[in-house]
């Protein structure tokens, strides 16, 4: 019997498909089980660093087209006037909300001396370089990352109010999950009644305020601000106002839809809250008191704020080392 040369074995399509299915399931399992510092998250972070210049180029390329789109949308009016007035209007509304928050807090807490100002926040500006590359996540990519001191969990604001939270950080860019995303959740309350709930996004693009009982009086136009519960977002940041309220007598909670104050598509720059000045001040005070021989118990209000702030940053860090939604869970725990 003559020996014929062996043909190299060719992979069959079915075998290849099974291999890909197994590999995909392994990847999914690893991704779900690993923390934010796991290998797949690190690969994604590295990939984000590589793709950042391309995303930036895309944003630059699209800017003139977006301007043309805006122009055609507002035919019949002077584009510059409309932009200026819209921006001014949004800023003023945010300012009114913020001032109302300050006024109410001032009334409640004016008797409590030596309370740290929770609104003196350290922030850094960043430029939006890209928006979501898929339909399932509402995110932004900004041009600052770990090299600028940004960390997972830090709140991100526009000039008017809350935008979202940093979900992942690479060296020169970060990804921000918006409050309109269905994976997002923010501890919030109604400014008028102080009733607390959770603001969350949804697949349909609406933003809901959940867990508001039927007994609470809610009117369209009521302002919703962050409650500070959970320690991730500072208290009093404007989120939006109530657009509609709906419930039936058999419901446990009201269905409240919120109109966010920030319109994500219009922003090219954002602010990232990198720390709280009051936290620093309090720590400095505590240090000086200790050196004088007095104890921390002399100022319980400051201590409470200090521990809250520290808890907040801890939460944010825990978000980086584990589930990025940890701060959100913290928010709900605070209810």
């Amino acid at each position: 019997m003559a020996l014929s040369p062996k043909k190299p074995k060719k992979l069959s399509g079915g075998f290849l498909l099974i291999l890909f299915i197994v590999l995909s399931i392994v990847l999914m399992t690893v991704w779900i089980r690993e923390g934010a510092s796991g290998p797949l998250h690190s690969v994604r972070s590295g990939f984000a660093t590589i793709t950042m210049p391309f995303q930036y180029a895309g944003a630059m390329l699209s800017r003139p087209f977006q301007a043309v789109g805006n122009l055609t949308a507002n035919l019949g009016a002077d584009q510059e006037d409309i932009s200026t007035l819209t921006a001014e209007n949004e800023e003023l509304r945010a300012l009114v909300m913020q001032l109302e928050e300050y006024r109410q807090e001032n009334e409640r807490l004016s008797k409590m001396l030596e309370l740290a100002d929770t609104y003196s926040l350290d922030s850094t500006g960043a430029r939006v370089i890209s928006r979501s590359a898929d339909t399932w996540n509402r995110i932004l990519t900004i041009d600052k990352g770990s090299s600028s001191g940004l960390r997972v969990g830090m709140p991100v604001l526009s000039a008017n109010g809350l935008l979202g939270q940093i979900e992942s950080v690479s060296q020169f860019s970060s990804t921000v999950r918006l409050i309109t995303d269905s994976q997002s959740g923010v501890a919030a309350f109604l400014q008028s009644s102080r009733t607390e709930g959770i603001v969350s996004g949804s697949a349909e693009g609406l933003v809901y305020l959940s867990y508001i009982p039927l007994t609470a009086t809610v009117q369209p136009g009521d302002v919703v601000v962050t409650s500070g519960a959970g320690g991730v977002y500072p208290k009093g940041i404007a989120i939006g106002e109530v657009a509609s309220v709906d419930f039936s007598p058999t419901d446990v909670y009201q269905t409240i839809i919120i109109k966010p104050i920030t319109r994500v598509s219009t922003y090219e720059e954002v602010l990232v809250l990198v720390g709280n000045q009051s936290e620093v001040k309090i720590n400095v005070n505590v240090g000086s008191q200790s050196s004088d021989g007095s104890t921390d118990q002399e100022n319980p209000a400051s201590n409470a704020e200090s521990s809250n702030s520290t808890g907040g940053s801890d939460d944010a860090v825990s978000g980086s080392s584990g589930n990025p939604d940890t701060p959100i869970a913290g928010g709900s725990d605070g209810q």
């Binding site: 992979l11 399509g13 290849l16 498909l17 890909f20 299915i21 590999l23 995909s24 399931i25 392994v26 990847l27 999914m28 399992t29 690893v30 991704w31 779900i32 797949l40 690969v43 994604r44 990939f47 793709t51 391309f54 995303q55 180029a57 895309g58 944003a59 390329l61 699209s62 087209f65 977006q66 890209s130 928006r131 979501s132 590359a133 898929d134 339909t135 399932w136 996540n137 509402r138 995110i139 979900e167 992942s168 990804t175 999950r177 269905s182 994976q183 949804s202 697949a203 349909e204 693009g205």
Partner: protein, 182 residues
């Protein structure tokens, strides 16, 4: 039609262009937060042109890159696209060889099943809590958007193929003519 033995060059080039489009263009042409999925489209087109084996490989690789760009769980899109590439390639081999309207119909169906499968897997692993709303607000608009882009791209690619074929046929004819003259 299984052309898995043909040159890899156009597939690799197409895959690179696809991912460049996904990174650079797709986020900027989103309509109401619906972002076109070029990776899915290219996998289906590869299945139509080259068959199941190459399509499932392309699907897996592009799916992996897609998941690295996006913020969802890694591994979902490779699973979806490798299954879709294999399925679409197998169907195309048996039923749809050569007919442009059938291929256009197949893009529509494949894109819908791809988006639907993605949604189902996300719901199973607990990433998406409201399946019905996602079906209405993400799967269906995504299918329409992807299909429109696919319906534009496929005839363009087919026209490119036809002109390439005509060029190669005419050059063969001219070679024959020269030989006959000699």
């Amino acid at each position: 039609m299984d052309n898995s033995g043909s040159s890899l060059k156009p597939t690799v080039l197409g895959a690179v262009i696809t991912m460049a489009l996904q990174i650079i263009i797709a986020p900027n042409i989103a309509i109401n937060d619906v972002v076109p999925n070029f990776a899915l489209l290219f996998t289906v087109i590869t299945a139509i042109r080259y068959g199941s084996m190459r399509a499932s490989t392309v699907g897996f690789i592009l799916g992996l890159i897609y998941d690295l760009i996006a913020q969802g769980p890694i591994g979902v899109m490779p699973l979806v696209l490798s299954l879709l590439g294999y399925g679409a390639g197998s169907l195309n081999k048996g039923m749809l060889a050569g007919s442009l309207p059938m291929q256009l119909g197949m893009i529509l169906v494949a894109v819908f099943f791809g988006e639907l499968l993605h949604s189902v897997i996300l719901a199973i692993i607990g990433y998406d809590s409201d399946f019905l709303m996602s079906l209405l607000m993400r799967v269906l608009p995504g299918t329409v958007y992807d299909s429109v882009i696919g319906l534009i791209l496929l005839p363009l690619l087919t026209r490119g193929d036809n002109s390439r074929k005509r060029r190669s046929e005419s050059s063969l004819r001219s070679i024959d003519m020269r030989r006959k003259r000699r």
